[in-house]
Structure formats: C-alpha cells, structure tokens
Symmetry: C2
Subunit: 304 residues, 2 copies
C-alpha cells in the first residue's frame, strides 16, 4: 500500500510545555505533504522530522487560536529565505487572510513565491481540496470561535494484477493498465481470461479525520463515514468535564465515544491540557469505551 501517514509535530494545547509543543501535524499521502494547523515551532519540527519543505504545498488551519497558527509566519519566511518558488496554499477561516497578508508584507517583503489564501467556511461539510490521490473535506466543529476539522480521504486505487498470471499467459506490458481497469484478456488462440482471474482487489481506501478543537458533538460520527484513523482532541479527563464544557473542549472519554460511533479502526488522542503530567489517565479513560486508542507524541509517525 502507498504510504498514508500522520506525522505528529506537536500535540499539546495552548500552553507549550517541556513535553508538548502546540498542535501541528503533517499528513503524508502518496508523496505529498499536507500540514494541519501550524503552532509555534512547526518549521523546526518539520526539520527535525526530516520532512521535505518542498513537498509541502497545502496548509490547513482549523481555527484562529494562536496555538494553531503562530508558526505560520516563521515558516513562510523561512521558505522564502530558502528560495522557494512553488505556491503555498493556506486554507483557513477568512479572518486570517488580512492578518497574514499584513505580516507577510511587513516581514517578508521580497518573498519569491505566492502564498495563496483559500477562505474556509467552517460551518459546511464540503470538499475544499482534491488531487488524483485524495480529497480533503471540512468537518464543522463546535469551539469558542469558527472551527473545523479536516478529513483526508484517499481515492480508490486500481486492483493489483497477479504477477503469476502475467507470466503464465505472457501478457504484454501494454495490456496491464487495461486489465487493471477491468478488461478481460484475450489469448492469441482467441480464448478469453476473465478479469477476475487476473487481478486481486484494490487496497481498501483509507481516510484520516482530524478533529480539533471541539466540544463533544454526539452526531459528529455521521460526518466520519469510512474514516479509518480518527484524531480527536482530548484536552481533559472526566475529572475536568466541567472545564471541557466551559471551554468547548472534549474529554478523552468523549473522543472515544465519537470513535466508537464512527466505527473507525483507531483513535488518536492529543491536545492535552498541560495539567496532565501523565496522559495515560486520558488513554485509560478512552480505552474503556474504544479499545484501539493511542496517545500521540511529538515525532510519532502513525499509519492511517
């Protein structure tokens, strides 16, 4: 299977601590990198992860709290210093456009590439990016200000051709694409090998949903159909349910309820409040509801 992974560059909440940086993730899909949120220090975390700056063309910002976007201007500036020429696309709530433009014209006067802003309507569930490998959808979330998650959905791939059948029937290379696309194969004697004998099914498609920051949304799972890996914020444990409600955040247990209802394969926790010195409290609470849950940590690389 082609790589479809999430690189965790930061998984803390608003207060950076000795353990966690603010939220930044890189979604890697078939050779392209997509950044989700961009906390202070994101550019340095990319370097530490040996992730290529040039493979990053699209940055998705969930909402305009500083811990999710203070890293943007430094990264944009660095890309300029490194001589980038390719457009960098930023998808974010409209209000960032003016602020970011001002910062860029103030601090990065001779930027040698375009920073293209795409205003995101955080209240709609719609596809905002598409290429031949995947689509990215917005997932409306409920936080203290407009906020949405992002769903990276891999497009279906073609079936795999069986190597032994190629050898057996001496099928020429020119026919392989046709067969992958469903054609039968006719032998020189006129007999036909049906397509299903020549191929094994395509890999199942995978999908990654990033949901941060949000209060618990009992119906969120309806937007997460087909998601294999779900990242759902878990700022608090049940000991701080009142805090979670007050600040429109979720508990680990609530994250697990979403994962369970969405029938995902695995749940990733993050956006931990700095009050938790050991996040296993959160993990244990979540696992009681959804077993295949794991904590994220900086530098983790997780298959979707």
């Amino acid at each position: 299977m082609e790589p479809f992974r999430v690189h965790i560059l930061g998984c803390g909440s608003a207060l950076p601590t000795m353990k966690h940086l603010p939220t930044t993730q890189i979604v890697e899909c078939r050779g392209k990198l997509f950044m989700v949120d961009c906390g202070e220090g994101a550019q340095l975390q990319m370097r530490k992860s040996s992730l290529s700056f040039t493979k990053l063309g699209h940055v998705f910002i969930s909402h305009l709290h500083g811990d999710h976007c203070f890293g943007l201007i430094g990264m944009i500036s660095t890309f300029g210093l490194l001589g980038r020429t390719a457009t960098l696309n930023i998808y974010a709530p409209e209000a960032l456009n003016e602020m970011l433009s001002k910062q860029i014209s103030f601090f990065c006067r001779d930027l040698g590439y375009e920073v293209k802003f795409h205003a995101v309507d955080t209240y709609k569930n719609q596809i905002i990016y598409e290429d031949r490998s995947l689509t990215v959808e917005t997932i409306p979330l409920q936080h203290r200000l407009p906020c949405c998650g992002f769903l990276f959905r891999e497009k279906p791939t073609l079936p795999h051709i069986k190597r032994d059948m190629i050898d057996c029937y001496q099928i020429p290379v020119s026919q392989i694409n046709n067969i992958k696309n469903g054609q039968d194969y006719m032998l020189p004697d006129g007999s036909v090998i049906p397509n299903e004998r020549l191929v094994t099914p395509a890999d199942p498609t995978r999908a990654y949903a990033y949901c941060s920051d949000t209060k618990y949304m009992p119906d969120l799972h309806k937007l997460l159909k087909g998601v294999t890996t779900l990242y759902h914020e878990s700022t608090y444990g049940t000991d701080n349910l009142t805090m979670a409600e007050k600040y429109n955040h979720s508990t680990a247990q609530q994250a697990a309820m979403v994962a369970r209802d969405a029938k995902v394969k695995q749940l990733l926790l993050g956006h931990y409040s700095s009050r938790y010195t050991d996040e296993h409290v959160l993990l244990n609470e979540a696992r009681k509801i959804f077993k295949n849950t794991r904590l994220t940590n900086e530098m983790d690389i997780i298959d979707v």
Copy 2:
C-alpha cells in the same frame, strides 16, 4: 558580586537549524530578567532554562527582521493564559507597534495585562531604561533596516564594610549605611576612624553590550566604553566577507576587531550563518585578533 549574566536562548541567524534557534537572549541582573530579541520559540527556551516568566518585565527588540521578533506574539499570548497581570514593556523600532497591536487584539482578546510599547530611535545612543541597578542604552548599528544594539550598564554599588572593623570598634548596625556612603566613624571617646579604614572598595561595575545585526563598524568601540562582555554578531567567516558586506553582517574577525578596540574583557560570538556546521572556524579566526573570545550556544549561561 550580585549575579549579572546572559542566558543564550538562541544564537542562530535567520534560518533555524537543528543546532541553533533564532536569536534570543535573557540578561539577568540583580534578580530581574531582560529579554533581548525574541525569535520563534523564545518562550519555550525560557521554560527549558527554568527562567521565571514573572521576573521578565522588559523586552528589547534590536530590529524588525522576523528571526529577531517572531516569538513575541506566542510569548505574549502564553503570559496571558498564565494569568499575568504585570505590565510587559516592549522596546522596539516604532514600526512594530501597529503590527503587534493588531496581532494582540486579534489573537489575545482578553489579555489580563498591559503590553506597553516604547518606540526606540535606533539612530541615537541614549539611555532608554533605568532602574536602581542598571541602565540600558541603545547602540546605533548599521544593518539593512533600522537596528540598534543594547548596552546594559550596572550602576556602581557601595563599598563593602569590613566585618572585622565592625567587631573591633563595636559599630552599631544603624551606622553601617552611613559608613558605606563614605562617612567616618566617631568612637565614644571622640576619636575618629577614617572611612577608608572601615571599607574595601565597591565591586567594579560591569556592562554587557549586545550588538546584532550589523555590518562592521570601525568606530563602534567608541560607544562601548566600560563594557566588560561584548556580544557581537559573527554571521560569517572571512571566507564569506563579500556576503557579510552585501547583507550588512559581520565576520568573526570583524567582531574581534571591535572587541579589541573597545578593550572589553570577553567577546561572545553568535548569529552564525547556517552554512557553518562547525563554528570553530569562526572562533579561531576571532581569537587571532582577540584572545578571550567564546562561541555561544543555546542554554549557555555566561557571567558578564
């Protein structure tokens, strides 16, 4: 002697690398902390150094290149989240005022403390801050945009009273301050002990000058009288003298020439171009001209 130290939080140049963060220093003098420049990641570096956020009341920004101020908004935001109430004073070129105000009103709406902006005239050599322990002067530098260094000058302390003299003449505590301030002491029998027998001289005053970023200024030493420790940028080695001249930076050798001419006690190098994987090249070049030179590195604590 009371502590007077520099904490190096970042000593790289514009491109953050695996080795160096952009420029940030903390000057610690008699219990107070002063920040000089504030690169991305400064707040986290302070945490790593166990430097108290509450002891920091004044931030000095040398110029408005991003690698010297991108850390400000994140730090200001974090101080707000931590419930700071004390004013934070920012001394910087006027142009930052509007940009920073916009960022603060956008990202830190309910900030519980005042961020007070003090516009700095980078072209003048003048005292811009004073308390009972020290003064801070601007040092005009020559860079691609308005830029100044900062000179932290400790105020003279009082002489030390000799403990054995107190015991010998049974001098009451009430008289000690008078004696420290120069008075003689009269014994009950009317005989007078001259002041110079009762005290040893005050500690020599120390001064720290921070000079970054600048092209080589042959007359800079004239503004550095009495400086004991000089930090002077050394972006390049002599192999890149042309680059230094083109971008208004200095070589390590030029930094050493300033240190030699200013007759300082020690020279600190920093703001290394990312092209130098081993900065000892820079150190060796500087030492040929000024022996007591040292490289700075993140987390170094250096006595002034």
